[in-house]
Symmetry: C2
Amino acid sequence: MNASRRHMVLALALAALGCAEEPEVDLAAEEATLRQIDQEWVEVAAANEDFERIVSYWSEDAVVVPPGQPPVVGRVALMEMVTSLAEIPGFAVSWESDHVEVSPDGRMAYMTGTNAFTLPDATGQLVTTRGRAVTVWRKNSAGEWKCVYDIWNTAPAQGS
Amino acid sequence: MNASRRHMVLALALAALGCAEEPEVDLAAEEATLRQIDQEWVEVAAANEDFERIVSYWSEDAVVVPPGQPPVVGRVALMEMVTSLAEIPGFAVSWESDHVEVSPDGRMAYMTGTNAFTLPDATGQLVTTRGRAVTVWRKNSAGEWKCVYDIWNTAPAQGS
């Protein structure tokens, strides 16, 4: 073989070798990213001021399903939900995630955890309701993780 | 180049070409498979007889989170749950899935829908409670879809 042919064979051999390996996704890094995004989201939600930012963690087509309430579908409805809640005196939300699992291609994930909503009862007394939640996440075409589905239910009266 | 070198170059070129394409996943087929598995599961659950089979749709490490009850973790605990429910006179469960989304690599999915549990109340009268559910699915190393996380909450009193 002459030099240019050797180079071509070498290039093809390298391409073929690269092919044998699966595209590498650093799942630990994706999980860490998701946990960081989620932690930022908790802080932004707790501050209860920057509604655009609170809503930005959901995808445009996100579905949120609060217990005993109709599903809230899409960012416009979610913005209404977030601003309505913020007007309630004493309203607070917080959550803590535990398990995170990312699909092998790093494109879908789900996160489980517990949450707490504080709202006034009929007498105006603030009551905190504890729940268990799952969020499903999708990486969009810009490479950003967005929450696409968000549901929780109420924990047993005595702990969970 | 001689014949054997030409063959080698051709083989490498084909390998490199194959490499340029993403591994093809037929997402529509995966979605159809998931819907079929889910439909079978509803029927097996409604029959309320073959408990081993009912439980087999969950992964070994599945977590089920019923509203107001502690999470049920793993197949042994799930078998206890399923057999305990079956002993309750008048118990019935059914569900209907709507949205299914599969990760691009066909390895993780989530499915949303509505469900209905019928159980006797304190007076023995049968009451049906309607809920909204999400199930998260993982394809195991044998290529089988298994439900890994299963949570629902109660729909609003008047429809959902």
